[in-house]
């Protein structure tokens, strides 16, 4: 590869030059030329002294020598046909030894990297699922949780039709980390009814790991991790981009997303992203879902320089949305809830419009990030990441006295997050990574709302360190391990109703937290400390040509989050009063995941059973009734219990014929509250998803039919309560059945995808029909399922331009 044709003539030249030496020109410069990337010797590099005829040339071992070098300053230029040249000024006073490390031309390295194809696996002992660019593009007008729904073991916890939180193995919220571009998103601690503030169009791939497999990003992800990676920059002089147009009949809306990247062959790049989305009221098969419109606008930019072995980047993302919540889901008391349950359709149906009225949520999430990495040698790499997130969330209720335009919840969460790590490759077999993670967080609840704070003002400090490694003695075996330690300090300033503070015994148990007595309210300053240990170990073993087994054990500890500790207020769509519990302890989970994969040309199968035992599992359960001016309300309080979960995710992919592919996946989760001897609430029922796709050989038109089946959840706790209603002058006691899960359902989707190639650039036209049969159904994991069915048929037209 490094042969140079004029090698022999050059040697002759050097010999002839040496005869011309002057009096002070008696010194030699010698050394080695090595490849910066892998330390291999570079053969045939030329080391030239500018302004003279002196040359040196490296041999097979990378050694070079220049004789007859004169006293004084010399400018050395080291060059090689496939490497970037080095230009260095040196002062020669004696015989000098100098080594050079040459770096390959970036475009050449780029080719090597592209060959590697795809993403680096997060942890080889835990199987993971991925979504590629095409799959993401197809769903570019949907939210993160919906996009992941077709991955086995992943579901979403919804609040209405547009707000969804991803769920892994039945767990969500603080138990699932969303890692965007290497840093964890900080907006998941405010309760169940808001979605992660992220625009998928800013990313190019999604990896889902069903456990705390990457301790680098946190040791408290009992459920798992979702890793979003941005587009990989092309390392040559180019300008490229992508624009996606979506139009959907249901909701009469659509989205436009465009991304433009300029890259230079010296590694510099700049990239920008714009995305706008708007929908009006969505349509269920039998009625319009009043006030379910949505507006979203996102921008982002990246600036940096990447040279494979080292690089830096600064980026900024801003996410803004406004989401309407079904008007009928805003109720006053449990009798209102009972009426909604008894009705076949929402109690308020108005003509279609785009307006988003109260109840609604508004979110603005800004993310500033800077990172730097340097692979100092073949063995050591340093990575430093700093990230600042400002997240503002406002919720608007239907209020009296023109207050509907005034937010009822207005929270601002600011987070500084730092992550630094050193990777060290001891040799071919042993790899280590050590790092530190520090976080400072401040939450401010705006008092102008005129409504008591749902989440109190607080500061959270977290410092952690981790070490992980892997041992790979051969290509068919690897062993992974990792430890992480975190110290968390939570400092909150919270007002309690004095009556509440006393009735819950806090005045005796937490006297030291009391700050100031305001009569009916008391200001307290709870300061809580948690020390968490997490660990992971596992192995991957290949048996024969096509079978791989993986096994992983994960120990995770999670500190209770602020909503679990401090929630305090009325939930307008569930007619419940929710209380946090100050006495909560950290949650400890031990999870075992086994994976069996078989891959062949025609068939791919993977089966992943898992077992998860959680101690001090924090959840919310009904704890009584509180009489208010609106009648009796069920009170739900955060508590902890012992939980056993197990389940299995299975996946199969079959190439039936050359252009005919079939895949199927299924997931089942069992979750039991051991202490109460009853099932856990909101656990996804058995689900199955299958897809059949055919690609026409000539036109490359792809047709795909997808079917999903969600079973009826038969395991659920009884959280029903009773209400006294007056019917024709008589008080009648009635049961409000909020526990019974809805019936299972089938859903069909149809996709057409036609590639349009022009000037080597691939554009795509897609037609997507979701809920093809316009089926009317309710989903157990939708917290607003009592008020309306899921949305009906949606026909979407999509145009993707690459340039």
């Amino acid at each position: 590869m490094y042969t140079v044709k004029h090698f022999v003539p050059l040697l002759l030249l050097i010999l002839s030059v040496s005869t011309l030496k002057g009096q002070s020109c008696v010194f030699t410069i010698e050394g080695r030329v090595l490849d910066l990337h892998d330390n291999t010797p570079i053969f045939g590099a030329i080391i030239k002294i500018e302004g003279s005829d002196l040359f040196g040339q490296s041999d097979e071992q990378g050694y070079y020598k220049i004789n007859s070098v004169c006293f004084g300053q010399a400018r050395l230029i080291v060059s090689h046909i496939s490497c970037d040249p080095i230009d260095r000024i040196v002062t020669i006073r004696s015989n000098t030894k100098m080594d050079f490390e040459l770096e390959h031309h970036i475009n050449e390295l780029n080719e090597i990297i592209i060959l590697e194809d795809g993403l680096i696996q997060v942890n080889s002992s835990v199987s993971e699922s991925q979504l590629n660019v095409d799959q993401l593009t197809r769903l570019s007008n949907q939210n993160l949780a919906e996009t992941l729904n077709n991955i086995s073991g992943v579901s979403s916890l919804k609040t209405g039709s547009s707000i969804a939180k991803p769920m892994i193995h039945g767990l969500y919220g603080s138990r699932v980390a969303i890692i965007a571009d290497g840093m964890r998103m900080q907006d998941q601690e405010w309760g169940a009814d808001h979605a992660p503030n992220i625009d998928l169009n800013g990313f190019e791939s999604v990896q889902v790991v069903k456990g705390a497999a990457a301790l680098k990003y946190g040791g408290d992800t009992v459920g798992g991790m979702i890793l979003l990676s941005p587009e990989r920059i092309n390392l040559k002089d180019s300008l490229y981009g992508k624009t996606i147009f979506n139009g959907v009949d249901n909701g009469k809306g659509g989205s436009v997303s465009t991304r433009l990247t300029k890259s230079f062959d010296n590694g510099y790049f700049i990239s920008g992203l714009l995305n706008a989305k708007q929908f009006g009221d969505l349509q269920a098969p039998d009625y319009s879902l009043t006030n379910t419109g949505l507006k979203e606008s996102n921008i982002g930019f990246r600036l940096g320089r990447t040279k494979i072995l080292k690089g830096w980047e600064v980026n900024y993302r801003r996410f803004q949305n406004s989401t309407g919540i079904l008007r009928s889901a805003h109720i006053g008391n449990i009798e209102d809830l009972l009426r909604a349950l008894e009705s076949n359709s929402p109690l308020r149906i108005e003509p279609f419009d785009y307006e988003i009225n109260s109840p609604k949520q508004k979110a603005i999430h800004q993310n500033i990030q800077a990172n730097y990495f340097n692979q100092y040698s073949d063995r050591a790499k340093l990575t430093v990441d700093y990230n600042y997130q400002i997240s503002n969330r406002k919720e608007y209720d239907v209020r009296r006295g023109n207050r509907s335009s005034q937010a009822a919840i207005d929270l601002t969460l600011k987070t500084h997050d730092f992550l630094g790590s050193i990777q060290w490759k001891k040799d071919f077999k042993w790899n280590f990574e050590w790092g530190v993670n520090a976080m400072l967080q401040d939450n401010f609840s705006n008092p102008e709302t005129g409504v008591k704070r749902l989440i109190p003002d607080h500061q959270k400090y977290q410092a952690g360190t981790f070490i992980s490694g892997n041992y790979r003695p051969s290509n068919n075996f690897s062993w992974e391990w990792g430890f992480r330690f975190d110290q968390i300090v939570l400092n909150a300033q919270k007002f309690y109703d004095t009556s509440n503070w006393i009735s819950r015994g806090y005045n005796i148990r937490y006297t030291e937290f009391e700050q100031k007595d305001f009569g009916t309210q008391i200001l307290t300053n709870p300061r809580l400390n948690f020390s968490n240990i997490s660990a992971q170990t596992g192995f991957a073993l290949e048996i024969g040509e096509s079978v791989e087994t993986t096994f992983s054990y994960m120990l995770t500890q999670r500190a209770p989050n602020v909503s679990e500790l401090f929630s305090d207020g009325l939930h307008h769509s569930l007619a419940t009063i929710e209380y946090g519990f100050l006495g909560l302890q950290k949650e400890t989970s031990q999870k075992l995941i086994l994976g069996i994969n078989k891959k062949s040309e025609f068939l791919g199968i993977s089966i992943d059973p898992y077992l998860n035992r959680v101690s001090n599992f924090i959840f919310i359960e009904p704890s009584g009734v509180e009489l208010t001016i609106r009648g009796a309300f069920p009170v739900w309080e955060y508590q902890s219990t012992e939980v056993l979960m197990w389940g299995m995710d299975a996946y199969a992919k079959i190439n039936l014929a050359k252009n005919l592919k079939y895949n199927i996946n299924a997931a089942y989760t069992y979750a039991q509250d051991i202490l109460a001897a009853e099932p856990l609430i909101s656990v996804p029922p058995f689900s199955l998803f299958q897809q059949l796709s055919y690609t026409f050989p000539k036109s490359e038109l792809e047709i795909e039919m997808a079917h999903s089946f969600t079973a009826t959840q038969s395991r659920f706790p009884d959280t029903n309560f009773r209400v006294n209603r007056i019917e024709s002058g008589v008080i009648v006691q009635q049961e409000v059945d909020i526990s019974t899960p809805p019936d299972g359902y089938h859903n069909f989707d149809l996709y057409f995808s036609l590639p349009l190639t022009k000037n080597n650039l691939k554009s795509t036209l897609r037609l997507i029909v979701q809920n093809l049969t316009n089926a009317s159904y309710n989903d157990y994991l939708n917290r607003l399922r009592f008020y309306a069915t899921e949305i009906g048929r949606a026909v979407q037209l999509q145009l993707v331009f690459n340039y």
Binding site: E335, L347, I368, R400, D442, P447, D457, F495, I629
Partner: protein
């Protein structure tokens, strides 16, 4: 690096927070429902349902006698500053409705003197006239409904909307 140090500096400034959070007085709170009941030849009755005591007060009526009932909604969370929420209800007459429901006793009611009507001339029943037809003991349930879907109904279900107030009073009707 410069960028990071700038951000870190701003952090230490923002962390320097010594003052306590502001106390929030709930703006839309209704703590108290007061019924003022008057009738010719009978003593005035003022019955109160208060959030803190949440006892069921008793209304005493005589059968076949007309009573003027005026209802008011108060926020007494700050004892030094009682707010009359009834004013807000009057101002937003179109979005509110008072409704009475009875069990165990038969009481009919109609709009009374000084009652407020909405833009469609529907009475709000802030002032009403009650007449009990026979003796007995039962319950009067008082509702304040926000944004009802209709303003003319004879059952709570018929009105739709959200319940802002729902409290019970014991009613004793004597011959």
């Amino acid at each position: 690096m410069l960028f990071a140090s700038f951000a870190l500096t701003s952090l230490f400034i923002s962390c320097d927070k010594d003052e306590d959070p502001e106390l929030i007085e709930e703006q839309e709170l209704i703590t108290t429902v007061v019924l003022n009941i008057t009738s010719d030849g009978a003593a005035n009755q003022t019955v109160r349902w208060n959030m803190d005591t949440n006892q069921t007060p008793t209304i005493s009526l005589q059968a076949n006698q007309q009573y003027q009932v005026s209802i008011s909604f108060l926020d007494e969370s700050d004892p030094a500053d009682t707010e009359d929420i009834t004013e807000e209800v009057k101002e937003e007459a179109d979005e509110h409705q008072v409704f009475y429901e009875f069990s165990g006793v038969t009481i009919s009611y109609s709009s009374g003197q000084g009652d407020v009507t909405d833009s469609a001339n529907n009475p709000l029943y802030l002032n009403s006239i009650w007449t009990a037809s026979s003796a007995g003991t039962g319950t009067a349930r008082v509702y304040l409904i926000h944004e009802p879907t209709t303003k003319t109904s004879t059952s709570r279900g018929g009105f739709g909307g959200e319940t802002d107030v729902e409290v019970d009073f014991t009613v004793v009707v004597s011959e």
